[in-house]
Symmetry: C2
Subunit: 238 residues, 2 copies
Amino acid sequence: MNLFLLHPEQHLEGDLWRLDERQSAHARTVLKLAEGDTCRAGVLNDGLGEARIESIKNNEITLSFKVDSNPPVPLPLNLVLALPRPKMLKRLLIDAASLGIKRIVLINAWKVDKSYWRTPNLKAGLLREKLLLGLEQAGDTVLPELIQAPRFRPFVEDDLDGWAGDGPRFLAHPGDHPSLPHELEGPATLAIGPEGGWTPFEVELLREHGFQTHRFGSRILRVETALPALVGALMRLP
Amino acid sequence: MNLFLLHPEQHLEGDLWRLDERQSAHARTVLKLAEGDTCRAGVLNDGLGEARIESIKNNEITLSFKVDSNPPVPLPLNLVLALPRPKMLKRLLIDAASLGIKRIVLINAWKVDKSYWRTPNLKAGLLREKLLLGLEQAGDTVLPELIQAPRFRPFVEDDLDGWAGDGPRFLAHPGDHPSLPHELEGPATLAIGPEGGWTPFEVELLREHGFQTHRFGSRILRVETALPALVGALMRLP
C-alpha cells in the first residue's frame, strides 16, 4: 500500500478524511504512523496529495488532505484476458492495475473451464477490490474499467472494434511469427489466452478482427508471468 | 506441468522410467493419460523427448522414453534478487526458472526483513522444488544455480565480479535515469531490490561495481510483477 486511496464516503468535512478499517490497520501496524506524521493519499478517480495524521482515537484515524497533483499517467494498453483460474485472476487484476492498464475485458475461450464463470470471485465488488489493491501499490487513483464477455464470438464480432479502438492489436502465439514489437507508446490492445492457449478458431477470429500474431520466446509461461513480461516487452512504461 | 521432468533415481532400466507420485497424480487426474498415450518428458540437466505410457499399475506409471532433442535455449541473464518475503520468493523462483534464468543470487539488503533469512523456505530442497516447477512449466530441464548471499557488502565487493562476469549490469531505480535498454541478447546481469527499494548506500555500491541505473516507468511495482516485466523489457526472449 503505497498510498491511502480515499473513497467519497470517507470524507468528513473540509479537508478531513477518515481511514477505513484496513487502512487504519496498515497505518498503525506497518507504517506505525503517529499524530502529526505525513503520508501519501489520493481520492478515487481524482488526484494525489500529502496527508497529515490529525488524530488517532480508538482505532479511528483522521487525516487532513488536499489534492495537489495528478495521478500517474495511465498505460494506454487495452487488455483482452481469457478468464483465468480464480486464484490467478486475483493476482492478474492486481498486476494489471499496478501496471497502469485501464481497460480490461475478461473473455471466454474454449480452454477456459466453464466453472470459472460461476466463481464468486467474479462479483463486481471482489474484482474491484483487487483492482484497488493494484492502484494502492502503484500510487494510482484511477479505477480500471473491467467488463466480462462470457461469449467469445459475439464479443469479438460485435463489440471488440468499438471497445479496442484504433491502435494496433497483438496476440502472442507460439510458432513462426515475427517478434513482438517493443517500446510502443500506445494506444494498443493485447490479447492473452487461457492456460493451454487459444484454439486455431479463436486465433483466426482474432486475426480477422485486426490482431497481429507475434512470437514471444519459445517457452510456455504461466499467464501471471506472461502478463507483466508481455507488457514490459511491448510498451514503454510511462 | 508441460513436461515430466525425470530424475536419475526414476530410471528403471533401458528406456524405462517411473513417474514419481506427483507426476503420476498429474498424469491420471489432469492429463488423464492411458497406456499407449504419449507425452513430453525430459531428464534433469539433459535433453527432451517423447515418452509413451507403458503401464499403469496401482498408481505406478511406467514410461518408455529416449532423449531426442535439446532443452530450450537458456536466458543469458544473471539475477541478483534481494531476498523477498517467503511467499513471494516461491513465486519468483518459479517465474525466474520458467523465463529461462539460470543464475540467481538471493542477496541481503537493508530493507530485507532479517526474519526472511531464518525461514524454512530457504532450505535447499524447497528452493529446488520451486525451480523444478518453473522448469516443468517452461518445458526445460536445466536446473538454475542458486546461491545465497546473506551479507550484501562482502558479496558485492568480493564475489560479484566473478559471479556476474562480463556482460552489462542493470539496476532499475526510480529517478531521472535513462530508460532501460531493450531486446538485449545477453549476457547481462539484473539487480532487483527489496520492497521499499535499495538504500542510497546500496545503489552507490552497486554502481561502483558496474551497475547502470535505469528508469523503468514511474510506478512502484510489486517485486513479483517487476521481475517478469523487467525481464520482458530488457531481454530478447530466446
